[in-house]
């Protein structure tokens, strides 16, 4: 949809203009990787047959995409509360394009951030698989994942009445996403009940697939299944966001 593209360019224009946001995001990426890398490497030398840096990077990348999605929801909420969305709503464009434009800009930022993190990770000793198709596949999955979480954040943003309310709601599902996933520990070491919970979390599929595609680790879950789960998740969460957004417009 053309309107999605137009709205995406507006978000990106603002993004590149805001030096603080740019620098903040870059520093944050570097810090995450450096802190995890330096702090943990001393303790843990090797997880599931790969070095710790390569093991932890996909998780950090997934989590920073989550942070990006939360920020994308914030932008929608801010535009809603200040009335800026009215400009979109009175224009001859589909409602969905407003949400997709926002999700696409979140995904773009997540990709930039991931690239930066990978570079820092490599400098710190992570070992990337020599397979450009794998890297591209991993980035595509990351984009789909970012769109999925944007959908959830946008849905919450569409119905929140205040910034505090939004953060309260987001916090509810942000924390479990970090710990109830394979980001920090391999799937095999988890007890059965925990594994069941972790397998509900879309982040688990992304992290597993990225480990396999970009770092050459053996996949725990079939790649096609991870791709399918992520695609379904993204579609469902955008549908969720659209339903809530429409509901908020009924007045």
């Amino acid at each position: 949809m053309y309107a999605t593209y137009v709205i995406w360019t507006r978000h990106m224009r603002k993004f590149v203009q805001q030096t603080e946001e740019l620098v903040g995001l870059a520093l944050q990426s570097v810090l995450w990787v450096v802190l995890f890398g330096v702090g943990m490497r001393g303790m843990i030398s090797d997880v599931g047959g790969s070095d710790y840096m390569s093991f932890i990077l996909p998780g950090i990348i997934a989590l920073s995409a989550l942070g990006g999605a939360v920020g994308g929801g914030m932008v929608l909420l801010d535009e809603r509360l200040r009335g800026i969305v009215k400009e979109y709503l009175a224009a001859p464009i589909p409602r969905l394009s407003i949400l997709l434009g926002s999700a696409a800009s979140t995904a773009t930022k997540a990709l930039l951030q991931a690239t930066l993190m990978l570079i820092v990770g490599l400098l710190m000793g992570a070992r990337l698989a020599i397979n450009p198709f794998g890297w591209i596949g991993a980035l595509i999955l990351l984009a789909i994942f970012a769109i999925g979480f944007s959908g959830l954040a946008l849905g919450v943003a569409a119905v929140s009445r205040s910034i505090a309310g939004y953060h309260g709601m987001i916090f509810l599902f942000n924390l479990p996403l970090l710990f109830a996933s394979n980001a920090l520990y391999p799937l095999e070491v988890l007890p059965g009940w925990m594994r069941a919970i972790v397998l509900i979390n879309p982040a688990t599929y992304l992290i597993d697939a990225v480990r396999a595609l970009a770092f050459g680790v053996d996949a725990t879950l079939p790649l096609w299944a991870s791709g399918l789960v992520l695609a379904i998740f993204a579609a469902a969460s955008m549908a969720f966001a659209l339903a809530l957004f429409r509901r908020s417009l009924r007045g």
């Binding site: 053309y2 309107a3 137009v6 709205i7 360019t9 507006r10 224009r13 603002k14 203009q17 805001q18 200040r82 009335g83 800026i84 009215k86 400009e87 979109y88 709503l89 009175a90 224009a91 001859p92 464009i93 417009l249 009924r250 007045g251």
Partner: protein, 315 residues
């Protein structure tokens, strides 16, 4: 039959228990300036939100240039330009980016966008500021930019919600002159809301008075005013307004007395104000009413408002 720019039939909007619009039948002919005049909370913004497809009606229907705002929403959106009551501008974008982005949303080709921006910037006198970020604009400049944005798509119907709210007199008069120009030169149909009667008098071909969600009366400002009588004696003061109305009504040549005790105001309509003034003042001050201030004038739209709603229009 003349073409209608805006038509609503039995339009109702409820927010929960609150009825914000109550059976509104409105007809605004194409090519004219229609002003909706009403106090805070009258339902003006609600009505415009429905007309601009932002809000669905509870019942009844509304059409813009014959297109239903619910069923043919995208046809309506293509044909209207809007400015909202609150300023809705992105502070980080420049004026030019704001206009350009708006044009792109409506799929205007780059050459058309460039040309329109050049024209509009001239029209609303923002030439010097157009490449600065909007956050550096004054309130009046922001309003003018918003007006330009509403005009980017060369709309057939322009909808303005309180276009001069919060502006200084000079900016107000500027906006008035742009609005008049657009209407006279390009034949643009314009629907605007205001709670300032001087604005309605200065601009409107047709005025609709709205209060508590009901469209109470519609007409040309001059007709509405003429229907009240030839002269009005406006008396401000304190005392028993009911008694004042009774005694003043008995004075020769007085056709009607209207009072707004809360506002400390009485309007005494006469056939000839300057001739009846002494007798009227004599009668009411003899009856214990303390007069603070008297003016003699032709009736205004404000008096029309008081006549139809029973309270003065305060802003």
């Amino acid at each position: 039959m003349t073409e209608l720019a805006v038509e609503t039939i039995g339009l109702v909007k409820r927010y929960g228990m609150l009825t914000a619009l109550d059976q509104v039948h409105l007809q605004a002919p194409a090519g004219q300036i229609y002003a909706l005049l009403g106090p805070n909370g009258a339902g003006k913004t609600t009505l415009l939100s429905i007309l601009t497809t932002l809000l669905p009606p509870t019942s009844g229907s509304a059409r813009i240039l014959g297109y239903d705002v619910v069923r043919d929403a995208s046809e309506v959106r293509r044909r209207i330009g809007v400015t909202f009551q609150e300023m809705v501008l992105d502070p980080l974008l420049t004026g030019r980016e704001t206009l350009d982005f708006h044009g792109r949303l409506y799929r205007l080709p780059a050459s058309v966008r460039r040309q329109r921006i050049a024209e509009l910037v001239e029209l609303v006198q923002l030439t010097d500021a157009i490449d600065r970020p909007v956050k550096s604009y004054s309130g009046g400049m922001k309003r003018r930019l918003e007006l330009a944005r509403g005009l980017m798509t060369d709309p057939q119907v322009l909808v303005l919600d309180e276009p001069t709210q919060g502006l200084d007199p000079q900016n107000r008069v500027n906006i008035w002159s742009y609005v008049r120009d657009l209407n006279r030169r390009r034949g643009m149909s314009i629907l605007l809301t205001t709670h300032a009667m001087d604005e309605a008098e200065a601009l409107a071909d047709l005025v609709g008075i709205i209060d508590h969600g009901r469209l109470i009366v519609t007409g040309r400002p001059s007709d509405l005013i003429a229907s009240l009588g030839s002269d009005v004696i406006r008396v401000r003061g304190s005392g028993d307004f009911q008694h004042l109305a009774t005694v003043a009504g008995t004075v020769d040549g007085v056709s009607r007395v209207e009072t707004d005790p809360a506002g400390g105001l009485a309007l005494i309509y006469t056939d000839n104000g300057s001739r009846r003034l002494p007798a009227v003042l004599n009668t009411i001050s003899n009856n214990g009413f303390a007069i603070e201030d008297v003016t003699l004038a032709r009736p205004s739209l404000g008096d029309v408002f008081l006549h139809y709603t029973g309270t003065a229009l305060r802003d």
